[in-house]
């Protein structure tokens, strides 16, 4: 097959799956078009790999057109059901878009012209970064230790065996397979192995993420702050670099942050469908990298915190919680079940509990501080966040700021405990290869906290006043 056409098909099918699935939750035109397209892609790729895993669990192989026909059948049934649901008007009532109306400035600032120049520069900057990232993703073949040892190697084994064969190495057997299966999917459509094409979907994750990030900030604040926050994301070297590599970390970052955004949207909108979506994304994040399982604690804590902070939900908290718990647990348990069926028991991190571990504390702190404030990974985003937090006034802070801080604190606590209580300590003590990539998983929260720190000055009535 012609490579361009094969790539197009390989990206279009998961997008279509996502789009059809999303139309069950949002049957009317509630989401903005860019948000719907982006959410469809990341939802569809997640569902695709879950279907691939389930297909294989049920004895299906990747040889021939069986998987494609199965998927097309599912899409066809999905479209018919979605259309009939739309016609019968069973969809949930609600008009998210109407609430998303941007608050225009009542009067332009005298410095508006300078802000506009800054906007132009940021747009140029973002466009340049996207062009560079796409170029790298499409022209530099997969490289780096993790892809060659774990995910792309898995994909190569799956592709040549036309089956999911868990790695022999017990240390790497437990790695979730989302990225590996997606890479397998890319080359299955191509018909031959290509070290280049296996990773071309990564920049599409970037594109989807920046659209969702933009729409999220735009919804709560305004378009200018949304643009700045996208620009701030790209100031981080590691963020921009990983958007063109074949590592699993960028994909996990996307699912991790989108899960949190969906939880915040549920809280703001009181629409359980955002919660269902958050549950699905949380489940997919556990299927992306092992850390995703630990991050369930953060989603859980945030969800419970928001659930109990809202008095209007009293009496139906359990019912609401099930909307999140069911999809999340359903997807999270699938890969452990698969490993159990294939007797693919693995060794992950090993607990090393003991009083002597307390001696690690100063080193872990120093590594964290060095990583956040003195490395070249994050520009000065974390320093800015700290300085700005000192200077901000309580009255001006957006209510979500404290929740972003809570999430970041929980992520740092998880990292801290990981290095304190397990053998993962050698990753920072001897190899120094992991910490930066772990922080990447929730780095966009720092940007969101920075952007949400101050209330938009000229918005007389933002959605936060109505919603929170």
């Amino acid at each position: 097959m012609i490579p361009g056409f094969a790539i197009g098909i390989a990206l279009f099918i998961p997008w279509l799956i996502g789009s059809v699935s999303l139309s069950f939750l949002f049957p009317r035109e509630e989401l903005t078009v860019p948000a719907k397209i982006s959410l469809s892609f990341i939802l569809g790729t997640g569902i695709l790999t879950i279907v691939m895993l389930s297909w294989n669990m049920l004895g299906g192989s990747f040889a021939g057109q069986g998987l494609h026909l199965f998927l097309l059948g599912l899409i066809f049934i999905g479209i018919i059901r979605s259309v009939s649901k739309k016609r019968s008007g069973q969809g949930q009532q609600g008009a998210v878009n109407e609430d998303l109306v941007r608050k225009e400035l009542s009067r332009p600032s005298p410095y508006e012209i300078y802000w506009e120049f800054l906007d132009i520069i940021i747009i140029l900057f973002v466009v340049f970064q996207c062009v560079y990232i796409f170029w790298r993703a499409f022209h530099i073949p997969v490289y780096g230790f993790d892809p060659l040892k774990i995910n792309t190697l898995n994909a190569k084994v799956f592709f040549f065996n036309k089956n999911i064969v868990l790695p022999q190495d017990i240390l790497y057997r437990g790695y979730p397979l989302h990225v590996s299966l997606l890479q397998t999917w890319m080359v299955l459509n191509l018909g031959y192995w290509s070290d280049q094409i296996v990773k071309v979907f990564i920049p599409f994750y970037l594109l989807s993420y920046i659209v969702i990030h933009y729409e999220f900030v735009n919804y709560f604040l305004n378009s200018r702050r949304a643009l700045w926050s996208v620009g701030l994301l790209f100031t981080s070297n590691l963020f921009a670099l990983h958007a063109s590599l074949g590592y699993m970390d960028f994909t996990l970052m996307v699912y991790n942050c989108v899960t949190l955004m969906m939880i915040f949207l549920w809280y703001a909108e009181k629409e359980t469908r955002f919660l269902v979506l958050a549950g699905v994304f949380a489940g997919i994040s556990t299927f992306t990298k092992r850390e995703g399982m630990a991050y369930l604690l953060v989603y859980g804590a945030l969800f419970v915190g928001l659930l109990f902070s809202d008095k209007s939900l009293s009496g139906r908290r359990m019912k609401t919680a099930l909307n999140f718990i069911f999809p999340c647990l359903g997807i999270s348990l699938l890969f452990p079940l698969f490993k159990f069926m294939r007797q693919g028991m693995s060794v992950g991190v090993v607990y090393e509990l003991g009083r002597q571990n307390l001696a690690r504390i100063p080193f872990i702190f120093s590594k964290l501080i060095q990583e956040l404030f003195w490395s070249g990974n994050w520009n000065v985003i974390w320093s800015l966040l700290v300085f700005s937090s000192f200077f901000s006034f309580r009255s001006k802070i957006h209510p979500f700021f404290k929740w972003f801080c809570l999430c970041m604190t929980l992520f740092f606590v998880i990292l801290f405990l990981l290095f304190l209580c397990t053998n993962a300590y050698i990753w920072i003590e001897q190899r120094d290869t992991t910490l930066s990539r772990l922080i990447l998983h929730f780095f966009p929260l720092a940007v969101l906290a920075l952007i949400f720190m101050a209330r938009p000055q000229q918005d007389s009535a933002g959605p936060q006043q109505e919603l929170l």
Partner: protein
């Protein structure tokens, strides 16, 4: 996008000025960002830009200037600027420690924003240089040539193996390198990936179809009986297959 924030009257007043300044700024940005292409790679300016970026998949580094990372100088500058500004305002009517603290923190925050812009500016310059470099090296090349540039030690050897064997084969890797740590582990990982479907992933395989000798002194001496070797890749690396075909 931002134009949506204006009313029409305001637009009419500011449009010509906006266009003039906009064109000016775009030209300035283009000039500044593309200028590095004309610099010689050994120029001090290029070395300076290179201090702002050094990337590996695991981390990006700011290189040292003298004994310290470039961020130290930035932080020191904004810290002393805040102290100096707070000192300059010491005769302010509200002569309280709280005022100095607020003034100092405000300067720190402003300084950090300025630092962000400066660092980003130089990062973009570096990325442009990197883009030009990668474009030169990877444009239009096929994947084999690209890998030959990235993985010089292992990729050529794996190509040599694939020239002699196609399809799945159970293989054992023999090497004098320590394959469990350091460079040996990296090269083993690269070989395992590039060689597949010649499979060296299974540990302790007792009856391999193929023997892969990589970085092994006198590889012929290490060859067990019953294996036929192909013309060696170099004096330390070769491949051999079981005589009488694969099992």
């Amino acid at each position: 996008m931002a134009a949506a924030f204006h009313n029409k009257e305001e637009d009419q007043k500011t449009l010509p000025r906006t266009i003039k300044l906009g064109v000016g700024i775009v030209l300035f940005v283009l000039f500044v960002v593309f200028f590095p292409f004309t610099w010689h790679t050994s120029s001090p300016m290029v070395s300076f830009i290179d201090t702002f970026y050094a990337m590996t998949p695991n981390r990006c580094l700011y290189r040292q200037i003298g004994p310290l990372n470039i961020l130290w100088y930035g932080y020191a500058l904004i810290f002393f600027s805040s102290l100096w500004l707070a000192y300059r305002n010491r005769r302010h009517a509200d002569n309280s420690p709280r005022f100095f603290l607020r003034k100092g923190l405000k300067t720190l925050k402003t300084g950090a924003w300025i630092m962000l812009f400066i660092l980003t500016f130089f990062q973009v310059k570096f990325q442009l240089r990197q883009f030009a470099f990668e474009y030169q090296h990877f444009k239009g090349e096929d994947v084999q040539n690209k890998y030959a540039q990235i993985y010089k030690q292992t990729y050529g050897f794996s190509r040599y193996c694939h020239q002699h064997i196609s399809g799945y084969a159970r293989a054992r890797l023999l090497s004098d390198l320590y394959l469990e740590k350091g460079l040996g582990l990296f090269w083993k990982t690269e070989l395992a990936y590039f060689l597949y479907p010649i499979d060296i992933l299974k540990p302790d395989i007792s009856d391999p179809d193929v023997l892969i000798m990589f970085m092994k002194d006198e590889p012929f001496k290490a060859l067990p009986p019953g294996f036929h070797w192909f013309s060696p890749y170099d004096h330390k690396s070769l491949m051999a297959v079981r005589q009488g075909g694969r099992r």
